[in-house]
Amino acid sequence: MKFLTTNFLKCPIKACDTSNDNFPLQFDGGKCQLVQDESIEFNPEFLLNIIDRVDWDALLKVAGELGNVNLPPKKPTFPCTVPQLTDVGMAVLNDLHIMLLQTSITEGEMKCRNCGHIYYIKNGIPNLLLPPHLV
């Protein structure tokens, strides 16, 4: 599961929808294995649009849990189009590419901050099926 996907997942239990703690899921850094896939190509235009959609506070939380505490506290601002990007801007964007798209969690677990239910990631695949009593 790519790091970026953590920014789009909440606890699927309906009772948790009334809580603000059902997103993002909390990662147990000690139990998570990360890998980097350098073959995933950097596409600045694609990434500019993606960053626009990212919830930065959620990203900071999850990055911290997985051991990355070097992110800026506020979402960096970028120009709207790629030709307007400075060298520094391009470098920041490339760092985000490495974190969001090249880094993925292959094994680990994530927990709802509201209900405490744990979801497992095995062989790169998170399983968010609920046991019958929670449906």
Partner: protein, 278 residues
């Protein structure tokens, strides 16, 4: 039908079956359908989307300029998808209990999936649930199997029962046969050059001929039956539940779920709708 009863029917005739047939099913699903491809290729650069019931993930790589998360209820199919491309974004999740953030995604697709829920209430509910993940104005492309399949060999057509069990024939490892036995077991009618309307008649004639030649040989009737039993042992049939949609029904369900129907049509024995979130 009670929700519990509907859910256990879906467990037995949808979820369990897909896990049992996953590798074989996946081998047969590799060609993206044209309208789905066109829908995906016209999404904006950097758009984010979901594929609910993605199966082996055949639509996840169609447009590399969108971020798509595929989910399926069957972990067997999701493993097939991962085996095809480890870079696919995959989840195991139930379509009525999706873990995606609400009001977030630009688009959704759900191709040949919604027809597996066994009551209308649940089918409308799943469309409503998929729409809840989209931002305002977001579009969902939904395909369901049609009742009207006039041109298909399956023969479903108007006026038939819409809630059906559809067989999936799993090939089993064939036992090793001697060349002579093999030739005998292999005797199968060749329908390739027979027009569909004449096939039933052709088959009957073929069976009569086979029967006659068997009767003339030493083996007799018992041996023939034995051969047929052996043939049946070699394959296993699994039944999946489907609701076959009649014309207009899917659009009606989408409106019931609170969507605007942006466009609709028929392709490859399926009705499709582009539903837009209000």
């Amino acid at each position: 039908m009670e929700a519990n009863e509907a859910a256990s029917k879906e467990q037995e005739y949808v979820h369990n079956v897909y896990n049992e047939i996953a590798p074989h099913f996946s081998q047969t699903r590799y060609k993206p359908w044209p309208i789905v491809t066109q829908f995906l290729q016209t999404r904006a650069m950097g758009a984010i989307g979901i594929d609910v019931g993605c199966g082996n993930g055949k639509y996840l790589g169609v447009n590399p300029n969108v971020y798509m998360i595929g989910s399926d209820r069957s972990d067997g199919l999701i493993e097939c998808a991962r085996g095809i491309d480890p870079a696919y974004n995959l989840l195991v999740a139930d379509g009525l209990n999706l873990p995606h953030r609400d009001g977030t995604f630009d688009f959704a697709i759900s191709i040949a999936v919604v027809h597996h829920w066994s009551t209308r209430e649940r089918r409308v509910e799943v469309v409503r649930h998929v729409l809840s993940k989209l931002c305002r104005g977001g579009q969902a492309l939904i395909y369901c199997w049609a009742l009207e399949q006039g041109s298909s060999r399956r023969g479903y057509h108007e006026g038939m029962e819409q809630d059906v069990f559809v067989p999936w024939v799993l090939p089993k490892d064939k036992p090793k046969l001697t060349p002579a036995a093999k030739a005998k077991a292999k005797a199968k009618p060749d329908l390739a050059n027979i027009p569909p309307r004449e096939r039933a008649q052709y088959l009957q004639r073929w069976r009569d001929d086979q029967q006659r030649s068997k009767e003339l040989s030493d083996d007799g009737d018992d041996k023939l039956q034995q051969d047929q039993d052996q043939d049946q042992d070699q394959e296993e049939v699994k039944y999946r539940y489907y609701h076959l949609y009649r014309e207009g029904e899917l659009a009606e369900d989408c409106r019931q779920a609170g969507a605007t129907v942006q466009s609709e049509g028929y392709e490859r024995d399926n009705w499709w709708v582009v539903a837009q979130k209000k």
